[in-house]
Amino acid sequence: MTTLWDTTGSAVVKELAAQRRTGGAVLSGVALTLVVVADEDRVAEAEEAATAAAEQHPCRILLVVRRQIEAPVPRLDAEVLIGGRLGPGEAVVMRMYGRLALHAESVVLPLLAADAPVVAWWHAPAPERLQTDALAVIADRRITDSSIAEDHLAALRTRANDYAPGDTDLAWTRTTAWRSALASTLDAVSGRRGDSVRVQGGRVEGDPGNASARLLAGWLTSRCGCEVEVVEGDRRPGPSGVGAVLLQLDQDEEVTVRADRHGGALLTQPYRPDTKVALPDRPLGDLLGEELRRLDPDEPYAEALEAATGVQGLAARSAEREHVWFDPARPDDGDDRRRTEGDGAAADAPTVPGDSVGTDDVALNGERNADEPADPSAPVA
């Protein structure tokens, strides 16, 4: 491990390369780069989770901690670890001070693993619009956590308004165990009937203010075509916010799955004895690991989010995100840089470009003059 104080991005790149050479038998395969954005007080938690996830999916971990944006002098402190505290792979923990924190991508871009997918995870309240963080623009997949917010429901609405394919949320990941238990319960019912099952109604008992409970209800609504609400249960639910799920089926049948708060759930269905199924509360690293398993857009999440928030047309949105300059130090447009909020006006280019995407004219248009035909196969005069 090496700690570099008041350093530069190039020094970090050099140090990483040097450590790879001298590190001996370290993991050389990198399937993806995981960029973690964390608050200072959540760094330890984020490190633990990222390490656990990296054990499942070898990746390069780049942990970005933004501090003291108002500090007068920009400064970068970096810790380069290979096969150390952060698991068997490569990891760089970067603390950025001052205006540099707004240009984190300038340090991150050269550190990305070549031609491998980039996953960004905010273990912090995520920006209202992910585009305003250049790290979200370079990422192929973006993981937020609406459960971190004070108001889960507002956070969910924000995510729905801002959704683009490739977004996902850990509040959704927390529902997987529930969803899997429910799906296999209906499998059992349809297996017994030898015929299809229809869900005619149902409810989720739990905390109506919990993002996961809302998403679970939203998923049921979107899959079953009937309204499923979250209602206050008699018992306080676990971290997933769900205490029980009750589904009314056709043929006057009913199934319930009720958490027993000991890592399991009791499943009640007609004509069959009650059974217990596993429904463990999963640690953060495990949730993150599940997110890294697949990097394609998660359509069921989009549908659940639509149903949970009432915001429509999520799946049809473009997966492309374009960086929007936003200066948290001057949120009200005090600078010559302007924040664009819904008014449709294009953002002015930042003085220091967020990243090279979209700014390299030669890369975008080829080496030609503006008056030349755009079609490269057309004859050049």
Partner: protein, 505 residues
């Protein structure tokens, strides 16, 4: 028709979970059950891959109650499980574990078993579905199958499925395997029979299909125009353990060559299946197995060996004939190497060298494609002295992965080309613990997915390759080799005569 509205093919997070069912294991107290099956059941439960209505039923001769059995099962699962131990998972599973005592020729015991299965329907809601795992010596198959037929346990109806899992050896030659197949097929219908070849449950073997058919890089050179020869090796460092009685009658060719190596050959040489389904893959494999030709010069191209005493991994190892329970004059082979041909347009003229042995220096299984040398080298002879053939090696175990071996310039002021290797290590890209072979195969049985199970025509085609070899070897003595070396000299000479040599795995 949507059977279950909560199932969505796009929802890749939800695992494939089998229908409610029971798993009935005959010979539950045996080695395989304790070391592989019980831990695999626990791991499946721990990963949430077992149906909510599931029961495990053990059948053996010992006088045990459910409690004793549950304890044995717990110890066995805990000892060999690959996923972390979680007491609450086991407790849930333990509630569905039952034991039926009896011997295989005891009618009452089987009536009791049938009754126990019926009870499970009401107590555990298994929906009448059951998979029977025959973890018993093949000699017992007829008795057990007859009993199952008598009690009507083996019948699949539209409401329920009944499946049977059979372990190798599938017979000892073509005639006996036909007999066995007929017997099994007379009791179960052909699609309900699952023959386990645990090699096919390994992640790398399945990856072989991904490597070949998902990439555009390898397919153009995957043929006799570019491939010089193929070497398939399965080496074990262990001896025969306590299995002298079994091994004396079997030998390396029947034990390994007939099933594992020929299956690996089939997967390496097969054409692209029309789709990735059980039926299509088996069809392509069968075509290859039927196209295998034996060498005409059997004395030089079919070598068998037997280990003598020697040193292995720093320890003295005794010879095969000195092992307990082995005839001091035994002519059973512990090593077999053979050159086969595959008579198809793709592979005509390419030798497939297969070898397997016990007490070899290390445990390794790999498939190596050795490519032809470049037709012309513009370098001086001295520059390429150390350049060998390009190779693509699929490492099945250990260090699952793929190695590509090619020439590269040695840094310096002169032109010198030497072999280097480029490694893809499975565990580096995907450390996520891939399921153990038995775990995967057991799950496939419960799901009814037969992709990774050879069907009886494949087994018979494999015996058709082995039988002439066995006939040729009958009456001769195997070549001796020292424990701890890579097989008998004759096997090296077999390749040397053709200007090739075995790869050291």
């Amino acid at each position: 028709m949507i059977v279950n509205p909560l199932r969505d093919p796009r929802d890749r997070r939800l695992p494939r979970v089998p229908d409610p069912c029971a798993l009935v294991v005959f010979g539950i107290t045996g080695d395989l059950a304790r070391k592989k099956l019980l831990p695999a059941v626990y791991d499946l439960a721990n990963r949430g891959l077992l149906p909510t209505n599931f029961a495990l039923l053990g059948f053996a001769r010992r006088d045990w109650g459910d409690q004793d059995f549950a304890e044995l099962a717990r110890d066995a699962a805990r000892k060999a499980a690959r996923t972390p131990w979680r007491e609450e998972v086991w407790e849930r599973l333990a509630g569905s574990v039952h034991f039926v005592q009896g011997s295989f020729d005891d009618d009452n015991a089987f009536d009791e078993l049938a009754a126990a299965l019926a009870d499970l329907e009401s107590s555990h809601g298994i929906g009448g579905n059951a998979a029977f795992y025959l973890s018993i010596p093949p000699a017992m198959f007829p008795v057990v199958l007859k009993q199952m037929q008598r009690t009507g346990m083996a019948e699949s109806t539209p409401d329920r499925w009944r499946r049977v899992v059979v372990e190798k050896p599938f017979g000892t030659d073509l005639a006996s395997s036909r007999e066995l197949n007929e017997l099994v097929d007379s009791v179960f219908s052909a699609e309900d029979v699952f023959r386990i070849d645990h090699y096919l449950g390994k992640e790398t073997v399945q990856n072989l299909m991904a490597l070949r058919f998902a990439n555009s890089l390898f397919e153009p050179i995957w043929n006799g125009h570019h491939v010089d020869s193929v070497q398939i090796t399965m080496a074990e460092d262990v001896g025969i353990g306590g299995r002298a009685g079994f091994y004396e009658k079997t030998g390396a060719a029947r034990d390994v060559l007939q099933n594992h190596l020929l299956q690996l050959l089939a997967l390496t040489a097969m054409e692209e299946p029309v789709e990735f389904s059980a039926e299509e893959i088996r069809t392509e494999k069968l075509k290859v197995l039927r196209a295998i030709s034996l060498p005409e010069d059997l004395p030089t191209a079919a070598i068998r060996g037997q280990y003598e005493q020697g040193w292995l991994a720093g320890q003295r190892a005794q010879g095969y004939r000195q092992e307990e329970g082995v005839d001091p004059e035994s002519t059973t082979e512990t090593y077999a190497a053979v050159r086969l041909g595959v008579e198809t347009r793709r592979w005509a003229g390419v030798p497939f060298y297969l070898r397997t042995g016990k007490r070899l220096p290390r445990r390794v299984t790999e498939i190596a494609l050795v490519f032809k040398r470049a037709p012309h080298l513009p370098f001086a002879d001295t520059d390429t002295e150390e350049l060998g053939n390009n190779q693509l090696v699929v490492r099945v175990q250990p260090d699952e992965g793929v190695t590509l071996k090619f020439g590269s310039k040695v840094p310096g002021s002169v032109m010198e080309v030497r072999d280097v290797s480029m490694d893809f290590l499975y565990g580096e890209q995907f450390t996520e613990a891939s399921p153990e072979a038995y775990e995967r195969l057991l799950l496939d049985v419960l799901l009814g997915d037969a992709t990774l199970f050879p069907r009886n025509a494949e087994v018979e085609a494999s015996w058709a390759v082995i039988d002439p070899l066995e006939q040729f070897w009958a009456g001769s003595s195997p070549h001796p080799y020292r424990a701890g070396e890579w097989g008998p000299r004759a096997a090296d000479e077999m390749l040397a005569a053709e200007g090739r040599r075995w790869r050291r795995p």
